[in-house]
């Protein structure tokens, strides 16, 4: 297990197995994934939990699993996790109440709520309880991974950068300007927001659903692949005529903006 290789720093003495939260690269937009996350999965379905643990391990992240609300609450309060994945319906303790408790104790650890309930009001209830993201079961693992990586990154300090940079592409949030290699690239407002979101998550996979939610504020999937069209338009504006493509399609998952060829 990956977590055995990590040395204890946070919560030393309380939980010997606990590792430090992920260390982030000082330059978050260099396009190379350097991080390892510690994820706590609070999920009562054993099969689903072991699937998640294994998949996260393969993706290079360490994870702990709690099978009921009480155990989950204890582990979460012990701290030291980068992201919590909380199922909404749990034995002993409701998932939302765990999140509410943590938030009351001023624990800002990002939380992704998993639920079989997918309606807008359920989502709102989840987010109101203090969850940072909401994913409806059943989900694709690539979607879950992209979301928890984005959450973990969001929690890192210095997120309020006024400009992003990937390779020779820069995005100035204050002046709403995008340049590549010194050349101005004029973008439509929505294209700007699309690029802004992708650059904030540079080096991370962003899924189509994430883009729909964050850039368009739509929480449903249109049948047609509208996002692909918008991304390919954006790509033609920022990558066309340049030697190195920055905006990559990650098959079966989504998109990623980074300076190196995705592996």
């Amino acid at each position: 297990m990956l977590r055995r290789r990590l040395r204890t720093r946070h919560g030393a003495g309380r939980r010997a197995m606990r590792g430090p939260p992920a260390k982030w690269s000082p330059n978050p937009v260099d396009g190379v994934r350097l991080m390892t996350m510690r994820v706590l999965i609070i999920e009562d379905d054993k099969e689903a939990a072991s699937y998640l643990t294994r998949a996260l391990d393969e993706a290079g992240h360490a994870s702990d699993h709690a099978a009921d609300g009480d155990a989950g609450q204890q582990l979460a309060e012990a701290g030291g996790y980068d992201v919590l994945v909380v199922d909404r319906m749990l034995p002993k303790r409701d998932g939302l109440s765990i999140v509410e408790d943590l938030r009351q104790k001023n624990d800002r650890t990002p939380v992704l709520i998993l639920s079989a309930l997918g309606q807008v009001d359920d989502r709102v209830a989840g987010l109101r309880a203090g969850g940072d993201d909401y994913l409806t079961k059943p989900y694709a693992f690539s979607e879950l991974l992209a979301r928890i990586e984005a959450l973990a990154r969001r929690n890192r300090p210095g997120d309020v950068d006024t400009s992003y940079r990937v390779g020779d592409l820069t995005l100035d949030r204050l002046n709403q300007k995008v340049t590549r290699g010194g050349t101005d690239i004029p973008l439509q407002p929505r294209e700007f927001r699309l690029l802004e979101y992708m650059m904030r998550n540079a080096g991370q996979v962003v899924t189509r659903t994430m883009l729909l939610e964050h850039v368009w504020d739509y929480h449903f999937d249109p049948q047609t692949n509208v996002i692909d069209v918008h991304v390919s338009r954006l790509r033609s504006k920022i990558d066309k005529g340049f030697e190195r493509p920055l905006l990559h399609t990650i098959r079966g998952a989504g998109y990623m903006i980074r300076d190196t060829v995705p592996g």
């Binding site: 807008v120 009001d121 709102v124 409806t136 929505r190 739509y218 049948q223 069209v229 918008h230």
Partner: protein, 490 residues
């Protein structure tokens, strides 16, 4: 229908009748007592004043002619019919003259000036009978005492009348109370009992039954009408639920069977890893399609049940339409067409942004999927191999009277008029669209969203093509002019 005696006393009608009876009896008794008391007082005062008049006239006689004249006058007065009571006694209390047969002696020693009530005997024919009288004693000079009294029989008679009338009134009240009770039991409780009976039948499964509305327009009719509306709604929901489960049974089984067959085939033919991978990949796609279908069904069911959870908020439909148009404009262009948005705003509505947006994207998805160029090879396709697309797709948003019309127009083959009704039902797919991907749920959702907002989905021929209009009622201004453009939390 009158309930059994045991329950009779627990009924509201009985309690009401009892309360009315007690309250009205109390009031009546008070009224009668008050009147009788005032009348008695008045009569007493009259008696007192006539006694006082007689005494002063006899005193006047005494002053003029001494005791002799008083005695004479008393003798005369005593003989009159319905005379007052007179008694003149000397200092030893011996009667000199008078028409009182027997009187307690103590009365004569009463202090002067105050009328008192005493009983006395009077000869009535040959029999001495007890009577009540109000008497006053006056001391004349020389030790003589003069007593003048009046019979209070008149007053007593009046009191008897009052007592009788009280009894009579109470009897009447009790009878009226009983009548009220019976009436209330019959009309009010009878109807309540009817309603209860109908409810019991509905509970036991007769969902089509309705409460009786008499047409009298009273509060029971109001209640029955409201309850009937509720029952209709419940029945509609139950029917919806049943339809959904039927749909699930029919239309989800097909893809499930396909999935199962695929896996079984893969298991049987050992085609090596590549073969397995292919089969598993295809199975995941099947599963995703199933999930999508399931989500769509649930969403429609929840929208139809009116329980999408979000209350309808003040929104600008023009902004929603503009957002959707902006999202789809490049998509339509990529598919070889053009999307024109004609949005005349603002269009105030009360709605749910997510649902209206989804309804519009469903309409646009349909337009992209089905609309073909109106003439062969007319618009230049942009060289993609995407399904051939109509030249123009139009998204119009405008206000028509008290309605907001959000219309998606394409110039594809359209939908035959005869099928307009049918296509909004779940899983209905017209013959020629069977080869295209889709679930047959798109228009069902649009129609459900329209109904949730109190509107409708109107399909029309765009000659050629289809004009699908989401009709929503205009939100009437109620003070607050704030526009809420987003219902979702980020």
């Amino acid at each position: 229908m009158i309930p059994s005696p045991g329950r009779l006393f627990r009924t509201t009608a009985f309690k009401l009748a009892l309360v009315y009876l007690v309250v009205f009896s109390g009031l009546t008794l008070f009224l009668i007592a008050y009147i009788s008391r005032s009348t008695t007082d008045l009569l007493t005062r009259q008696l007192e004043s006539s006694i006082a008049t007689e005494i002063s006239s006899l005193v006047e006689q005494y002053r003029r002619g001494g005791i002799r004249q008083v005695v004479g006058s008393v003798e005369i007065r005593s003989r009159r019919p319905s005379a007052s009571l007179y008694l003149v006694a000397d200092f030893s209390g011996r009667t000199i003259v008078g028409n009182v047969a027997d009187l307690p002696l103590a009365v004569l020693n009463l202090p002067d000036g105050k009328p008192v009530q005493v009983s006395y005997q009077r000869l009535d024919g040959d029999v001495a009978r007890e009577f009540q009288a109000l008497v006053r004693v006056f001391a004349l000079p020389g030790g003589f005492r003069l007593l003048v009294g009046r019979d209070v029989g008149e007053r007593t008679e009046f009191e008897d009348v009052i007592a009788e009338s009280i009894q009579f009134v109470i009897l009447v009240m009790v009878v009226m109370g009983l009548v009220t009770w019976v009436f209330v039991s019959r009309s009010v409780l009878g109807r309540v009992e009817d309603m209860a009976e109908t409810s019991r039948r509905i509970i036991s499964g007769d969902l089509g039954r309705r409460l009786q509305v008499t047409g009298s327009g009273d509060e029971f009719d109001n209640l029955a009408t409201s309850l009937n509306h509720m029952l209709e709604r419940i029945e509609a929901l139950m029917t919806g639920l049943k339809e959904v489960s039927d749909d699930i049974a029919h239309d989800l089984k097909t893809p499930l069977t396909r999935l199962r067959n695929r896996l079984e085939t893969a298991l049987r033919d050992s085609r090596g890893e590549a073969g397995y991978r292919e089969a598993i990949g295809a199975s995941i796609e099947d599963a995703d399609e199933l999930i999508h279908l399931f989500d769509a069904l649930l969403r429609i069911a929840r929208v139809e049940a009116g329980s999408s959870g979000d209350e309808l908020k003040p929104l600008d439909a023009a902004a929603i339409a503009a957002d959707v148009a902006e999202l789809y404009e490049p998509v339509v262009e990529d598919a070889g067409g053009t999307l024109t948005a004609r949005v005349d705003g603002p269009l105030p509505i009360a709605g749910n942004r997510a649902l209206i947006s989804q309804a519009l994207t469903n309409l646009l998805d349909n337009a992209i999927k089905y609309a073909l160029p109106p003439e062969e090879g007319a618009p230049a396709l942009s060289g993609t191999v995407a399904p051939a697309l109509a030249g123009t797709v139009e998204l119009r948003a405008k206000r028509v009277g008290e309605e907001v019309h959000l219309t998606v127009v394409d110039h594809g083959p359209g939908i035959p008029l005869a099928d307009h009704e049918r296509v909004t039902q779940r899983f209905v797919r017209l013959e020629r669209s069977r080869t295209l991907p889709g679930s047959g749920l798109g228009l069902s959702l649009v129609s459900a969203v329209a109904r949730l907002h109190g509107g409708r989905l109107a399909l029309a021929d765009a000659g050629p093509g289809l004009a699908a209009t989401l009709v929503l009622p205009v939100r009437l201004e109620t003070g607050g002019a704030e526009e809420n453009h987003g219902t979702d939390v980020h």
